[in-house]
C-alpha cells in the first residue's frame, strides 16, 4: 500500500536537519568533510523510500547515521533521527546498549551490499538464524525451527540451505538468506544499502520483487539506497535525490521520473538507457565536488546549465508542491521548467 500524500500520521522515520561530518586532524591540519549537510526527510509506515546519488553524495554516511553506526571521525553535529519505535531518542547513536540490543533485528534490520559482511563465514545458515532471531521471537526450539523453514520457503530457499555455510551458496542465494534474516522478526524498518548491485540482472529482478512482496506482507517501511535509477523506478514508492551531502529533490517516484525538477535529477532520469529508444544520451560534464571544500551556495552550480548569480551565493531552500520537493532557485519556486 503506497502513501498518497506526505505522511500525515507519525512517520516511521523522521530525519530533521541532519548534519554528519568527518573531522580529521593530522599534523596541525584540520579537515572537515561535510558528508551530510542539513538533510531532512520522512518515511511513512508501509513505504519504500529510495535514496539515489553518486558515490560521493553522502548517502552512505546518511545510512550510517540512521543506523546508529557513528564513531569518530564521524560525528553527528546537529539535527535528529527519530524512529517511531524509539520515540524518546534523537538518534540510535544516543540510545543505550540495551535499547540497541532490543531494537536491532526486531524493529530495525539491515540488508547490506556484499552479503558476506552480514553473514558470518564460520557459521552455518541455521546458526545465524539462531544468533539473530531466536531471542527476539520467544518461541521454543521446535516452533522456532518451523518458523525459520517456513520463512526460507517464502524466499524460495530449500530447507537444505540451513546446513550450508555462506560460501557454499551462490550470490543470489546469499542475498535471499540475508533478506530472510532481515525480515523474519517482521521489523518496523529495514535499511537496504545497494543490496542487489553485485547480482546478475535476472537474479536482481527476482530478489527485488521478492523484497517488495515481503515488505508488503509484513508492512514494514524501507529505506533503499542505490545509485541505480532503474532499480528505484522499479521498486520505490517515493524517491530522494542526494547530491554532495544535500537532498536536492524528493517526491513520489512516478513524479520524479515523469517530471524531474532539479537539473541534477533531470540528468539522472535522462541518462537512464532504455531499450527501444534511439536518442543519444549525454553524460554530465564535470565531477562531483570535494566535500572537504564544497562549492559555495548551491553545490551543483558549477555543473549546472541554469546556474544564476544567486546560486553561487546562497543555498536554495526546499520548496514544496503536491508532495514534490525541490531545492533549486531556477526550477523550484513556481515549478515551472525554463528551457
Amino acid at each position: 500500500m503506497s502513501v498518497d500524500t506526505e505522511p500525515a500520521a507519525t512517520p516511521a522515520l523522521s530525519v530533521e536537519r541532519l548534519k554528519a561530518y568527518y573531522r580529521t586532524s593530522h599534523f596541525g591540519v584540520s579537515r572537515e568533510v561535510r558528508a551530510v549537510d542539513d538533510v531532512s526527510f520522512a518515511i511513512g509506515k508501509d513505504e519504500i523510500y529510495g535514496l539515489a546519488g553518486e558515490s560521493s553524495s553522502g548517502k552512505t554516511t546518511l545510512i550510517k547515521a540512521i543506523a546508529g553506526l557513528v564513531r569518530p571521525p564521524l560525528r553527528i553535529e546537529d539535527g535528529s533521527i527519530r524512529f517511531a519505535f524509539l520515540p524518546g531518542r534523537r538518534g540510535l547513536h544516543l540510545a543505550s546498549p540495551s535499547e540497541v540490543q532490543r531494537v536491532r533485528w526486531r524493529h530495525l534490520s539491515y540488508i547490506m551490499q556484499g552479503s558476506m559482511s552480514v553473514l558470518n563465514p564460520l557459521r552455518r545458515v541455521r546458526d545465524m538464524f539462531v544468533d539473530f532471531a531466536f531471542d527476539h521471537m520467544g518461541l521454543g526450539r521446535g516452533a522456532f525451527a518451523r518458523v525459520v523453514e517456513a520463512h526460507l520457503a517464502r524466499v524460495r530457499l530449500e530447507p537444505s540451505v540451513l546446513k550450508a555455510y555462506p560460501h557454499e551458496l551462490s550470490g543470489g542465494m546469499r542475498q535471499r538468506v540475508t533478506i530472510a534474516l532481515a525480515t523474519i522478526c517482521k521489523p518496523d524498518f529495514i535499511i537496504a544499502d545497494e543490496p542487489t548491485t553485485a547480482l546478475d540482472v535476472i537474479v536482481q529482478k527476482d530478489v527485488l520483487d521478492m523484497l517488495r512482496e515481503i515488505q508488503r506482507e509484513i508492512s514494514s517501511s524501507m529505506l533503499f539506497v542505490t545509485h541505480d535509477m532503474g532499480v528505484h523506478a522499479h521498486l520505490t514508492d517515493r524517491l530522494g535525490i542526494m547530491y554532495a551531502g544535500r537532498l536536492v529533490e524528493d517526491g513520489r517516484t512516478v513524479d520524479i521520473f515523469a517530471r524531474p525538477r532539479h537539473p541534477y535529477t533531470r540528468h539522472l532520469v535522462a541518462s537512464l538507457p532504455r531499450i527501444g529508444e534511439d536518442r543519444i544520451r549525454q553524460g554530465l560534464e564535470g565531477n562531483p565536488p570535494n566535500l572537504a571544500d564544497p562549492p559555495s551556495g548551491c553545490r551543483f552550480h558549477p555543473r549546472c546549465a541554469l546556474a544564476m548569480d544567486i546560486c553561487r551565493r546562497e543555498v536554495p531552500p526546499m520548496t514544496q508542491q503536491n508532495g514534490h520537493r525541490v531545492a533549486c532557485f531556477a526550477t523550484g519556486a513556481t515549478g515551472e521548467q525554463p528551457q
Partner: protein
C-alpha cells in the same frame, strides 16, 4: 566483403577437473563462432550473466588463454601460432583490454600521468618527452579528460568513472584496432555509465576502432551495439543485428534477460513487456 579483423571458428574451452574416481571436463565455452570485419569499425556485444563463458571468451580473444578446440584468428593469423616477443608485442598493440574494475587496472602507488607516459614509451614507440606528453594528452582528450586533469594524480583521487576513462586512454596509446572491454561499466555509478558508453561510440565513429563490449546490461548494449550474441552456460543462444535481437528476442533466455531490465513503470514503451506493480511469481 571486407577482410576479417577477428574470426572465431568453433571455439571451445573446457577446463579439466580431475578427482580420485572421475576425470571430468567442465566446458566454459562451447562451439562459438563469429566474425568481425576490419571495415567499417563496429561494436560487437557479448551479453551474458556470470557463468555464461563471456570472460573466458574475452581471455581467448586477448590471447591470455588458448581454446581447447577451434581457432581464434586476428587479421587471418591464428593466435596459437604467435611466437616470440616481437609477434606478441605487435598483437598487444593492436588488441587492448579494458577490465571491470578500473582500480585494478592501475598501480595505486603510481601517478596516472607517469603511468601513461611509460605505456606510451613501451607500446607506442614514442620518443622524447614532448612526443610522450603529446600522445598521452591526445589519448586523454579522446575520452573527455586532459593531461592537466590527471597530472600528478593518483588513481584513488579519481572517481570510478574518470578512472575507467583513464584506462581507456591508456588502451588507446598504442593505436589499437580492437578494444576488448569486459564489463567496463558495471562497477561505475549508473549515472556515469552513459558517458563511458558514449566514449566507445566516439572510438568507433571517429577513430575507427572496433570494440568488443561484454556486458550483462541490455540497456547500454541497446544504445551502442551493431551486432551481438547472447550467451548462456558457454553457448550462444541467440545472435544477430543488435536492435533486431533486443527489440524482438526469440530465445526464452533472451526474453528473460530483456524482462529483467528495470525501467520506470509510467513509460509507454511499446517494445517493453508491460510492467505491473504486482510482484512476479
Amino acid at each position: 566483403m571486407s577482410t576479417a579483423l577477428l574470426e572465431l571458428t568453433h571455439v571451445s574451452k573446457a577446463y579439466g577437473r580431475s578427482g580420485l574416481f572421475a576425470r571430468r571436463r567442465v566446458p566454459a565455452v562451447r562451439d562459438v563462432s563469429f566474425r568481425i570485419d576490419a571495415e567499417p569499425a563496429s561494436i560487437f556485444t557479448i551479453i551474458g550473466e556470470s557463468g555464461s563463458g563471456k570472460s573466458t571468451l574475452a581471455r581467448m580473444i586477448l590471447n591470455i588463454t588458448q581454446p581447447t578446440s577451434g581457432t581464434v584468428r586476428f587479421r587471418r593469423r591464428d593466435l596459437s601460432t604467435l611466437r616470440g616477443h616481437g609477434a606478441r608485442l605487435d598483437f598487444m598493440r593492436e588488441v587492448q583490454p579494458i577490465f571491470q574494475n578500473p582500480f585494478e587496472a592501475f598501480n595505486p602507488l603510481k601517478r596516472l600521468d607517469h603511468y601513461l607516459f611509460s605505456t606510451a614509451l613501451r607500446l607506442a614507440a614514442a620518443a622524447g618527452r614532448e612526443d610522450v606528453e603529446r600522445r598521452a594528452d591526445e589519448a586523454l582528450r579522446s575520452v573527455g579528460l586532459s593531461l592537466a586533469e590527471v597530472k600528478g594524480r593518483f588513481p584513488h583521487e579519481l572517481s570510478g568513472g574518470q578512472l575507467q576513462r583513464a584506462a581507456i586512454a591508456r588502451a588507446l596509446l598504442s593505436k589499437p584496432s580492437l578494444i576488448v572491454a569486459d564489463e567496463p561499466v558495471s562497477m561505475v555509478d549508473a549515472s556515469l555509465r552513459m558517458s563511458i558508453v558514449n566514449v566507445f561510440r566516439h572510438l568507433r565513429d571517429d577513430l575507427s576502432i572496433s570494440i568488443i563490449y561484454i556486458t550483462h546490461d541490455l540497456a547500454t548494449a541497446y544504445t551502442i551495439s551493431d551486432r551481438l550474441i547472447i550467451m548462456q552456460r558457454g553457448e550462444v543462444v541467440e545472435g544477430g543485428e543488435a536492435r533486431a535481437v533486443l527489440d524482438h528476442p526469440r530465445h526464452p533466455y533472451s526474453q528473460r534477460l530483456k524482462a529483467a531490465v528495470l525501467a520506470p513503470q509510467t513509460d509507454a514503451d511499446p517494445s517493453q513487456p508491460p510492467c505491473t506493480t504486482e510482484p512476479v511469481r
